[in-house]
Amino acid sequence: MWPSEPWHYLPGAIPWPEGQGIKIPFVKFDGSEVRGGTLERRAMTLGLDLKGGTRLVLEPDLTNTSDIDLDEALDRASEIIERRINEFGVAESEIQRQGDRLAVQLPGITAEEAMQKIGRTALLEFRELKTDANGNVAVIQNGQETYIPLSSLSNLEDAVWITAEATTRDGQTVPLTGKYLTDTFLSADNAGLPVLQFRFNDEGGHLFEQISGRLIGQPLAFFLDGEPIRDENGQMNAPIVRAQIGKSGIIENMSLDEAQLLVKLLKAGAFPVPLKVMQSENVDATLGQDSVQASVIAGETAMLVIMLFMVLYYRLPGLIAGVALSVYATIVLAVFKLWPVTLTLSGIAAFVLSVGMAVDANILIFERMKEELRIGRSLVVAMEEGFQRAWSSIRDSNVATLITCAILFWFGDQFGASVVKGFALTLAIGVLISMFSAILVTRTFLRVVISIPAARRPVLWVSQLRTKGDSGSPEPASLPSGGGS
């Protein structure tokens, strides 16, 4: 939760703790470190508008491409980049055409990470061994292509692999590539090893059926951007085809990291042309670093003023609400950090709105409590009643908000409007936690406080307490803690 660079957000004079937190490696008896055993903090991912990121200028590499509609290719490439970057839908990248190039700005990652994500074309090919009429396979020996029987092929890497082709329904011979995939996902086999499952569309299934039927007993290899996909031991991943396969298949024996990256790339699709990185640089916040900092300070001031107002107006419950809100804000920010949600201005707007709704839930409860106290209920009864009465409005308004979020998210996803999508996701997280906070956190705090006798003094709860029938009578010294209703 604690910011990595606190001087941006907090008064400068105090030496706030900084950095990435403590790293406590869990050490085995033999001294080796166990992975994942650290308490290192991750940094909050802030969007381009708030923090900046990396800017890459990409140029299409047209050397191996004949006639191609460059405009269309670049449009398609920017869609794919968007999909690769926005894994969870809210990375909030920015892509624009710059002449015949693409300029991409990515938040919160280094130039190397950016290269890994968008530097690859991601063309998946299915390849088979090149064979002659007698079924001998082609290998490269001393730079020469010669044919040997399949049984004497010792290293798959030596063989010549050609793209597996088949005939489409309308009679064309085409290579089978990743463009026919409709779905790719990861699962695990019995041993818990990652298995990449893929499914073809109708056309792809038709092609795959012919190819797998033809290759029974022979290996089928997967190539990504002309490089074979390798298993965990660095061996080429080329399983022997056992039977004719239709629409779906699997790739096994990969490391988890590799499999995850592959799924991501395949889901996003392949670039229509390879892209070269021409320029990469770090960029500052698009809203301006100075402006963002001023806004953060202003936001913090506003928070303090609101808490002060709540304490003055609602007295002790206001203070409790303040504490509950801090707990609430902490949980929400922690979720944003761990998800991870890229926090942009629209995300912060959604966060502030959800804080507002959480404040509102508290206010609703306290107003109800006040009403109950004024008609002479005891503190405990007033509190329980207050919660019960306020619940229906908290529930309905929050459910309506969640419905709105779901629809906005879906629309944003369909239309590629990432602002709308990011807003909807952050608001939904905020609202869910705010319901939890209002009901559980505030209630628990209130219960604890009510159990302290000194806190039961009426002046801490309501300004004018009227007892039944006599509005002018002096306030009782202490509210009863329970009983009478």
Partner: protein, 341 residues
């Protein structure tokens, strides 16, 4: 006791009076000025030898006639400046010289005059043959928009779909009282009231102060919608509760009581929002102003509409004001005479 419901037609009149200028402004094109995110434009990169603040550069661009410019630092005193299309901006920068070709050169020259010597891409001082510093653009190019123009229409579709879903949900959630469907309808009307008001106000601001619509505006509008629905449901919830508790009370009294009972909360909630938005407007960054303006207008109208539009419409509907109004207008003379008598 205050009677809010009695004067409901005056509130409608006030709403119409406030909405009208905005609606007129929305009808007169351009209804909303699209910002540079949506359209193609120019981008130049400049690098200075002396220390230059981002804010100063932004101010300077503004005084050069480009208040829309987006200034983004890319290193030590080096900035990317994205503007609307600069007239006559050539792809190549001339090798110095006194003659200025087009707006881009004029701007670079002005920045040079203001902030001093400029650097080339490799960090060396930009100078002419005699070593005299000259204005220099590290790079310049024509760029496309970053956000599809369609986003406005698509967001509108999303909001329309969300309104229908909320209408259905409220109709279901309020099924315990008679005519729950009306609650859904009035809540939706109140929300649309706020959307139109904010858009209208922004349209006027666009015409008067050149304020442009950008993704921040869309974010602000979504926030306002969220706030408005939330606020309306809280008031309607009280109506629902009072309706169940005192089923014999006439609706206008019930609504009036509900408004009075939720007034404290409504005012406090919007007060806290207005407070924080004002704080941000006063001391926050200048670049997020469009968002804050939308929030400020939206919060106030959101609160107003839940008290003075949504629940009042419920009474209007129940008491058949609208058919009565029609009856009054159509056979005007005869009816009017009878009623006055």
């Amino acid at each position: 006791m205050l009677d809010f419901v009695q004067k409901r037609n005056w509130y409608y009149l006030l709403s119409i009076l406030v909405l009208l200028p905005g609606v007129i402004s929305l009808i007169i094109p351009p209804s909303l000025k699209p910002g540079i995110e949506f359209s193609s434009g120019s981008m130049i990169e400049v690098s200075f030898q002396n220390s230059v603040k981002e804010a100063d550069l932004r101010t300077e661009m503004s005084s050069l006639g480009h208040p829309e410019a987006r200034v983004q630092g890319t290193g030590q005193n080096r900035f990317l400046v994205r503007t609307s299309v600069l007239e006559g901006s050539a792809e190549q920068t001339p090798e110095g010289g006194p003659q200025l070709l087009g707006e881009q050169q004029a701007i670079t020259q002005a920045l040079f005059n203001k902030f001093g010597p400029m650097l080339k891409d490799n960090g060396s001082l930009a100078a002419d043959a005699s070593g005299k510093p000259i204005a220099w653009t590290v790079q310049s190019s024509a760029v496309s928009g970053t956000v599809s123009r369609e986003i406005g229409r698509k967001s509108a579709l999303a909001v329309a779909a969300a309104s229908i879903a909320i209408l259905l949900y409220i109709s279901w959630a309020f099924r315990s009282i008679p005519n729950p469907f009306r609650c859904g309808i009035v809540a939706t009307i109140a929300t649309l009231h706020d959307v139109v008001l904010v858009m209208g106000a922004y349209s006027i601001l666009g015409k008067v102060f050149n304020m442009e619509v950008n993704t921040m505006f869309i974010t602000g509008l979504l926030t306002v919608i969220g706030f408005s629905v939330h606020d309306t449901i809280v008031v309607l919830d009280r109506v629902r509760e009072n309706r169940q508790r005192y089923p014999d009370l006439p609706l206008h009294e019930c609504v009036n009581n509900s408004i009075l009972q939720t007034l404290g909360r409504s005012i406090n909630t919007s007060f806290t929002v207005v407070l924080s938005v004002t704080a941000l407007l006063l001391i926050g960054g200048i670049t997020i102003r469009p968002f804050l303006v939308v929030m400020l207008i939206g919060t106030i109208t959101g609160t107003y509409s839940s008290i003075f539009v949504a629940s009042q419409l419920l009474v209007t509907w129940e008491e058949g004001d609208v058919p009565r109004l029609f009856r009054r207008i159509i056979p005007k003379r005869t009816r009017a005479a009878v009623e006055e008598g």
